[in-house]
Point group: C2
Chain length 293, copies 2
């Protein structure tokens, strides 16, 4: 692995995901906790205006604004589009002092524990994810195969990923999950320091990846209004097997709706608040094993 010179820890990409935002504030107040001898650690409160207002975003979802074409489009002028261009500059991605690693801290109302969300399978990402999973098996790793150019902040670096932590409501700090996220950040920084020092930590040879295979929307009527909710038997069951015939929704008049897929899947982001407007009741994944080189 190449020498790592600059690492960016990002929080508040969504203004109502408080754990990441307040971790950034803590790191700014106590910078020594994220300093490591061999690289520089930068912090970024990505959407300060949305954070101040306690909202996910002001005009549009910042974490859908990072397509390279949009970053170069002077006509895009909403708050988040402007902010995305500023972040691209701030992280030095057009200059010499380029960021080598991006860690983007998010929370979810789904019961996803500590999840590492990858947008590629570059060896650096996989090795780090395998390391985090090997020292804490509760750390799960999701992977989305890129079918088109990513719009996410993490994709500004090849060695970049999202940490999703939950369940925690929007606009709320949860002390236990705050501390777990904080520990995970320190573990990542220590790992990167070790890599720079030539100490490659031991991991397992393989890693379980939960690969995105699709999404399921809520049942809706002709006006687009939701007609059912996540079934109580599925609530909080992220990463558990969902089999054909298992209940996934409960209509408002009390009827269960079954999963109609052909094979077992592992849902994540079950009942994520921010996804109601995106037409996503849950994301489906399949388990796969990948070899760690």
């Amino acid at each position: 692995m190449n020498q790592i010179n600059r690492v960016a820890i990002v929080g508040g990409t969504h203004g109502n995901e408080f754990i990441g935002a307040y971790l950034i504030k803590k790191f700014d107040q106590f910078p020594h906790v994220i300093q490591r001898p061999s690289f520089e650690t930068l912090t970024l409160l990505a959407n300060p205006k949305a954070f101040k207002e306690g909202r996910r975003y002001i005009d549009k979802d910042l974490n859908r604004c990072f397509k390279s074409q949009n970053l170069q489009d002077p006509m895009l002028s909403s708050y988040e589009e402007t902010r995305a261009k500023a972040i691209y500059q701030l992280l030095g991605l057009q200059g010499k002092s380029q960021i080598d690693v991006i860690v983007d801290l998010h929370t979810t109302t789904a019961n996803m524990g500590l999840s590492i969300m990858l947008g590629n399978q570059c060896p650096s990402n996989l090795r780090l994810a395998a390391y985090l999973n090997s020292i804490n098996p509760l750390v799960k790793v999701c992977w989305t195969e890129p079918h088109q150019e990513s719009t996410l902040l993490r994709s500004l670096c090849e060695f970049g990923f999202v940490i999703e932590v939950g369940p925690v409501p929007q606009g709320v700090l949860n002390a236990e999950l705050f501390q777990k996220t904080e520990e995970l950040v320190y573990t990542i920084l220590d790992y990167l320091e070790g890599c720079n020092q030539g100490i490659i930590p031991q991991t397992h040879d393989t890693l379980t990846l939960y690969q995105y295979v699709g999404v399921i929307d809520y049942p809706r009527n002709e006006h687009g209004e939701i007609q059912a909710m996540i079934h109580q038997d599925l609530q909080y069951r992220d990463y558990e097997p969902l089999n054909p015939g298992d209940p996934i929704f409960l209509t408002f008049d009390g009827k269960a709706i079954a999963y109609e897929g052909k094979s077992t899947v592992y849902p994540v982001f079950i009942n994520e608040a921010a996804y109601y407007e995106k037409g996503i009741a849950m994301c489906l994944t399949e388990k796969q094993q990948v070899a760690i080189s």
Copy 2:
């Protein structure tokens, strides 16, 4: 008790408290479930614009807009102030077809289960609350002594109260709590029908009330920024005894802050998302027993 002729069930007073809002939608779709022989049941989605945007409010908290002076002030023109005046008219409170009972459905991110929130101790409110508590001891009853005129929607009727259900994140439907809230509404309607029929249901002679005695804000710096979070030992412990010396906050650098009161209290609304901006980390109550006449 006087004959009850019109009952209003209100949801979506806060647009991101989905259980009440979607219950109203269900009741509008299946009106027979809330019809009772001896009175008319009205439904009201109180803040439709905020509900559509998935926000608590558009301009200001609707549930702080019902002071009689404000309802009569033609100069007040924000969305919620205008909406409050419309609701006052809709509920017929200036006319002949006045509402007799208001049931206002809310949710909270705090672990408050099913809570009945009273703003007065009128016998009708106390008897109903005692009945609900007697058939389901998990139903808790809070009471705020009126020190000044109420600004809440529920206060438009003497026989009026809020139902708080939690924990549920903002912008999320929880099927289990949806069904529990729905059952509670039907129990209330059946009780009111019984009263009109002259059948006074049996209750206990006394009721435990959790009386508001104050609030505690988060520790903040000179800029008003939060410096600590709810301590993990207090999280989800609504209605449990909090003793002097017990930890209530955890600072971002990991120090516990103890409760400094002089006596045991029973916190509610612990870590309610909407109260961060109101300067409330939790509300404190004291337990009292009241006789039911």
